[in-house]
């Protein structure tokens, strides 16, 4: 699990790196190329491994990794743009375009690295339902924090108190909730794998 945490942290850091202005190429296409190449490598590795994760676990893993890249990029760009966020500036438009490319790449890897038998059953549904429940609570907690912060924590003339900033923070909260959904799924699958390996003396 610590190795998985490091890998997921690396995904978020990769998103942060993509947001740096010194990059000679567009962040969207550079990030998409790395995401797709990594998914292809995973596909090759999983095809050769009989104990590779099943469809739902793969989807959760790829989704969480891609979303963390997007989230790292998104939050870093928000910080760079600053409190007086204006969606009509060139930098904000660039962020939106690059982010859409990263989101498209995250969606594409689901197809690239999907399991040969894309079976999802009631155990997957049960895990996904529990993960959705925890993600909803995370989303609610974030929205409550936003309401309190915007309503009580900011002065009337504060540049942070703008519709544009609120909209982007809400988008960020969706991403965070999505990451929690993936984390919850991964935790459940890891728990199953661990318990089975303890029972049988070998990995599932």
């Amino acid at each position: 699990m610590p190795i998985a945490a490091v890998k997921l942290l690396a995904c978020a850091l990769f998103g942060v790196v993509l947001a740096q202005s010194w990059l000679p190429i567009g962040a969207g296409f550079a990030g998409a190329a790395v995401i797709v190449a990594t998914a292809w490598r995973l596909r090759v590795r999983w095809q050769a491994d009989p104990a590779a994760p099943d469809a739902a676990e793969r989807a959760a893993l790829l989704s969480i990794a891609g979303t963390l890249v997007c989230l790292g990029y998104f939050l870093t760009m928000l910080l760079q743009i600053g409190p007086e966020l204006d969606v009509h500036t060139r930098l904000a438009r660039k962020m939106a375009n690059e982010l859409w490319i990263l989101v498209a790449a995250t969606a594409a890897v689901q197809w690239i690295a999907q399991a040969p038998q894309a079976t999802r059953d009631e155990l997957d549904a049960s895990i996904a339902a529990r993960a959705l429940s925890s993600a909803c609570w995370v989303l609610l907690a974030q929205q409550a924090a936003l309401v309190v912060w915007f309503g009580l924590g900011l002065e009337a003339g504060d540049p942070l108190r703008s519709i544009d900033m609120l909209v982007h923070l809400v988008i960020g909260s969706w991403m965070v909730a999505h990451v929690f959904h993936g984390l919850s799924c991964m935790r459940a699958y890891a728990s199953l794998r661990h318990e089975v390996s303890q029972d049988t003396g070998h990995a599932a």
């Binding site: 079976t119 199953l192 089975v196």
Partner: protein, 76 residues
């Protein structure tokens, strides 16, 4: 999923009786993932009635010949 399910089963034995049927083969026959077969056999997951019936059908048995209630062990 930390507590073993009180619904035990003879799935492993029935698989072996059917010519060493693999978990993968059973999963395909039932239309579930191998992970779920593993979870069921190690009592980490209690199946729905429909899934229990589908599994019993693959083995050509009644549900109660495959699955049975096993009272949870008390700590006292």
């Amino acid at each position: 999923m930390n507590q073993p399910s009180p619904i035990d089963n003879h799935m492993r034995r029935l698989r072996l009786e059917r010519g060493e049927m693999s978990q993968e083969a059973l999963a395909r026959a039932v239309g579930i993932t191998r992970q779920t077969v593993i979870a069921l056999e190690s009592l980490r997951y209690a199946p729905s009635l429909e899934l229990a019936m589908r599994i019993a059908d693959v083995f050509g048995k009644r549900v109660d010949e495959v699955f049975f209630w096993r009272a949870p062990q008390s700590d006292n």
